[in-house]
């Protein structure tokens, strides 16, 4: 059975920075939301936690594309993470969480699990 989720408002369009990311706090922990205006869709959401350091920094990385794949580079040790799949390009065993994200009027909504404990146990 699919875990119960809900589409929560996390911030407004004016909070976003074009070509870059911001961090938001969700029930599922810190999430990085990126806004790449040249792409369609233009919004991406991945975990804000850098798996290599355990620190919450990924929203502060530089975005770009590697062979067409939209990525962010960790500001600490510079590994690249796909904004679409969360896959680390330098280490195929590392993949971080991604979240469905959409624009609702001037608000940004993220799909997060309703109950954090349940998801963590699954």
């Amino acid at each position: 059975m699919k875990a119960r989720t809900s589409w929560n408002v996390v911030c407004k369009v004016e909070d976003l920075v074009p070509e870059s990311g911001v961090a938001v706090w969700t029930e599922d922990g810190p999430v990085a939301v990126f806004y790449l205006p040249h792409r369609l869709p233009a919004l991406f959401a991945i975990s804000h936690t850098d798996p290599f350091s355990g620190s919450n920094v990924l929203a502060r990385g530089i975005t770009g594309d590697i062979k067409g794949e939209p990525v962010v580079a960790s500001p600490l040790y510079k590994q690249h993470f796909s904004l679409i799949t969360g896959q680390c390009l330098e280490d195929e065993t590392v993949k971080i969480k991604t979240y469905p994200v959409l624009l609702d009027g001037d608000q940004i909504r993220l799909e997060v699990p309703v109950n954090k404990q349940e998801t963590a146990a699954a």
């Binding site: 350091s53 975005t63 580079a73 600490l76």
Partner: protein, 837 residues
């Protein structure tokens, strides 16, 4: 097997090179090596002796280190003069005792020839050969006005340069009708004389000194055979060298009629267990007074001792390329056209001061020799023609005629035979380079590492690069200089595109000249270029997403995601009040506090959202951003200087503060560090910086392109005794040329080493303005200095920019849960991973 004892007498350049060569072979294990040197100092570079007065020390000039000798198990006996050789018993004698040998190598070098002139024993009559000689010259020259060098050859002009750098009015007295009579002809000598006189050294040719007597206005007076005279305070004899063959002579070895220890092609003397190399050796009736042939002998002997029966010294090319008192001089092969039937082609531009002469064979097909004065850019090509018997083009004069544009014509690397010598210091041929490439070297750096080519004098750097590029291309290796997949350009090319097309945003640049959307390589690089060109605020909307996180948030991210803060403390000078503010702020925000290596204070552990408030307080107290986060000027370290220090000769703190304020905020390919020392004691460690300034009695000596870090490098002496204005102008040019032409993340040291022509080329561009860029570089720097803004001051005053510092945009009061703290030595620090398990 018991080891044989090998004794080397003499620890000069050639003696040292021999040991380097021998220890690299298997023979090293067969010998127990002992070295005896008369001087107390380890072998040093005599070719660059005059730099000793420019600030270089013995350590700078040293060829090796005591550690190297220890590692190679070589017994070093310095300051221990060998007084006799007993060939029958195979022993040598020193004041400390007798030592037995199985093989003996004489590398005793030469001594300066002092002409038999009456009065030459005067205490202010000196010679120019050792560092001790230089110390004597320095002592004699202290506080006096005039000095004379007797001898207008290569060494004499070096000595004149040394006198000049001591602030003495230098004269050169030469017996022959022209300077450098061995290497130059009449026209070349005349041009060199003119150029040297323009530099303030007076040249007197065709002067024979008859006696030296007490002077009337100075210490000494030289009387000449033409009844003229010259008053001077000191005289340096540099009228040639004589082989140091005293020991060999006394022990009965064969000696040439005019001196020199006779050797065969294997560098062995008339005694099969005694060998001689370098300037003390006489091969085929010839003494070789240059270091390169000495090195060749050293290599030959090392190979022979290693059992190589083919090893043979078969003479050496005496071609020379020099910069004497800043004037280019080159002489190749049969420069005086002594080959029967030889013909000449001459080009003499008296207006700009360039003289070039080619000596070609009767049939016009081969180059026999050449002379160059004023411009050595044709030297490499001409030398290759001469050394390799390459057939000259139908109109050989094009090789020395000025081109309407571009530099000297280069001989295509394809035209060179496999045997062509590319690097004569390390005897690397084109074949060796091809071999290295075939063995897997795929770029210039690895070829240099493998073959050692271009790591000696560096004169062959441009040629080596051409050969490597051409060979790589032949093998289908594309020599890519692309920055990344988004831009098919090097950083330097991107800089030109931005500058020339007036491009102000990354978006425009990648749309017009790149592809895709950029990455963490090209974005910060372009941000740095844009900052250098237009100097807009780094948090201007278009530039925000280009910056590394440290630049975006103008602080240094630490491993737990918090930041450190480093306010600027120019020159390391700070008032007690400001120091108290730093303490108060650190206390309020519970920041870990540490003094940095660059004489400032680093405050660790601030969260993203705390940064603006902390900076508000710092700015109110008069602090500015320290750019510790940027690829830009970090600090200008200083010692306390003449204000307090009893040794200081200039106000080093004042100069450091001025420099720091001038260059703060300058965006560059990598970080830049500087330092200013108030005297030669060098307490500010300026020689380990990108830009190092050391005070002298007369102004400032400038060192460039040093660094600490992973691959430490001493800075090179760049210019001496500069006035304040000249110092700043020179630094402006060096920095701006670096910012414009360096690759991404290339420190000044690597940049300079990769410039074709290296330090000399940089000197030409900056000091002689060879590219005509000087004024433009200064103007560009002046513009940047004029548009400086404290990035933090602008940021805290702008609510939009402050929004960027929210830790979580939807939860301002939320603190990052992963940041956990503990206390150590009374300060807060992050909990380590090992402590949470």
């Amino acid at each position: 097997m018991s080891k044989h004892t090998l004794i080397v007498i003499g620890n000069g350049m050639v003696g040292h090179h021999f040991l380097e060569q021998l220890t690299a072979t298997a023979a090293a294990d067969r010998f127990h090596i002992k070295v005896f040197g008369e001087e107390k100092l380890l072998a040093y570079d005599r070719v660059h002796l005059s730099e000793y007065f420019g600030g270089s020390t013995h350590a700078d000039l040293a060829m090796g280190t005591a550690e190297w000798y220890a590692e190679n198990h070589i017994d070093l006996h310095l300051g221990e003069q060998v007084t006799a050789i007993d060939r029958e018993n195979q022993t040598i004698t020193t004041p400390m005792g007798d030592y037995a040998y199985d093989e003996l190598v004489l590398a005793t070098g030469s001594y300066p020839f002092v002409p038999p002139i009456k009065g030459n024993e005067h205490p202010h009559c000196l010679v120019y050969r050792t560092l001790e000689d230089l110390d004597r010259i320095r002592a004699s020259a202290a506080g006096v006005k005039t000095g004379v060098v007797v001898g207008g050859g290569l060494l004499g002009l070096e000595a004149a340069n040394a006198l000049k750098s001591l602030g003495v009015n230098a004269h050169v007295v030469e017996f022959a009708p022209r300077l450098m009579p061995v290497q130059l002809d009449t026209d070349g000598g005349a041009l060199l004389k003119r150029k040297i006189e323009e530099l303030g050294v007076q040249v007197h040719t065709e002067k024979a000194t008859t006696e030296i007597v007490d002077g009337e206005h100075a210490r000494l007076r030289m009387n000449f055979s033409d009844d003229s005279h010259l008053e001077t305070d000191l005289i340096v004899f540099s009228a040639g060298i004589r082989p140091q063959d005293t020991l060999a002579r006394a022990s009965g070895l064969d000696i040439g009629e005019r001196g020199g220890i006779v050797i065969n092609n294997q560098c062995t003397t008339s005694d099969p267990h005694i060998h001689a190399i370098g300037e003390c050796a006489l091969w085929s009736e010839r003494i070789f007074g240059l270091v390169a042939p000495g090195y060749t002998m050293a290599r030959t002997l090392a190979a022979a001792l290693n059992g190589d029966r083919e090893a043979a010294f078969t003479g050496a090319d005496m071609s020379t390329k020099l910069k004497l008192l800043g004037v280019d001089v080159g002489s190749i092969g049969d420069a005086h056209a002594q080959t029967p039937g030889a013909r000449n082609i001459r080009f003499n531009d008296e207006k700009v001061g360039h003289y070039r002469r080619m000596v070609i064979s009767e049939d016009g097909k081969t180059l026999l020799g050449a002379i160059l004065v004023g411009d050595n850019s044709h030297y490499d090509t001409l030398l290759q023609y001469a050394l390799n018997d390459i057939t000259l083009p139908d109109n050989p004069e094009t090789l020395i005629l000025p081109e309407s544009q571009g530099g000297a014509p280069a001989l295509g690397p394809d035209a060179l035979p496999e045997t062509a010598s590319i690097c004569s210091c390390h005897n690397v041929t084109k074949g060796d380079i091809c071999g290295a490439i075939d063995a897997g070297c795929s770029d210039l750096a690895s070829v240099k590492g493998e073959t050692k080519a271009s790591t000696g004098c560096g004169g062959c750097a441009a040629l080596l690069k051409n050969v490597v590029d051409s060979e790589l291309e032949k093998r289908g290796v594309e020599v890519s200089k692309d920055l990344c997949e988004h831009f098919p350009y090097s950083r330097q090319e991107l800089f030109h595109l931005v500058k020339v097309n007036g491009i102000r945003t990354f978006h425009t640049l990648i749309r017009d000249h790149g592809k895709g959307h950029g990455c963490d390589i090209c974005k910060p690089t372009v941000a740095s270029i844009l900052a250098t060109c237009w100097n807009e605020h780094i948090l201007a909307t278009d530039h925000v997403p280009l910056q590394d996180t440290n630049d975006t948030f103008m602080a240094n991210m630490q491993k737990n995601g918090t930041y450190s803060i480093v306010p600027r403390i120019p020159g390391g000078e700070i008032t007690p009040d400001k120091l108290i503010v730093l303490g108060e702020v650190a206390k309020e925000y519970n920041l870990y506090t540490k003094i940095t290596g660059g004489q400032r204070v680093d405050l660790f552990g601030a969260t993203l959202s705390e940064l603006p408030a902390i900076w508000e307080k710092l700015i109110a107290a008069g602090f500015e951003t320290g750019h510790a986060y940027g690829k830009s000027l970090r600090t200008v370290k200083s010692c306390v200087g003449s204000t307090w220090c009893r040794y200081g000769v200039q106000d080093s703190v004042g100069m450091a503060i001025f420099l720091e304020n001038r260059y703060k905020g300058l965006r560059s390919p990598h970080k830049i560090k500087m330092a200013v020392s108030g005297c030669t004691r060098e307490c500010a460690e300026a020689q380990s910086k990108d830009i190092g300034v050391i005070a002298t009695e007369n102004g400032w000596n400038l060192y460039v392109c040093g660094n600490g870090g992973m691959r430490p490098r001493h800075a090179d002496l760049f210019a001496t005794d500069l006035s304040d204005e000249a110092l700043i102008r020179t630094i402006d040019r060096v920095l701006m040329f670096y910012v414009r032409t360096a690759d991404r993340l290339q420190r000044t040291s690597v940049w300079m080493e990769n410039l074709e022509g290296g330090l000399d080329y940089l000197k030409q561009v900056v000091l002689e303005d060879s590219l005509g860029l000087g004024a433009e570089l200064e103007e560009h720097m002046e513009g940047l200095v004029g548009t400086y803004q404290c990035e933090w001051k602008t940021a805290v005053a702008d609510p939009e920019k402050r929004k960027r510092f929210r830790e979580f945009v939807n939860a301002p009061e939320k603190t990052d849960p992963v940041q956990q703290w503990t206390t150590e030595r009374d300060q807060r620090r992050p909990v380590l991973e090992s402590e949470t398990a």
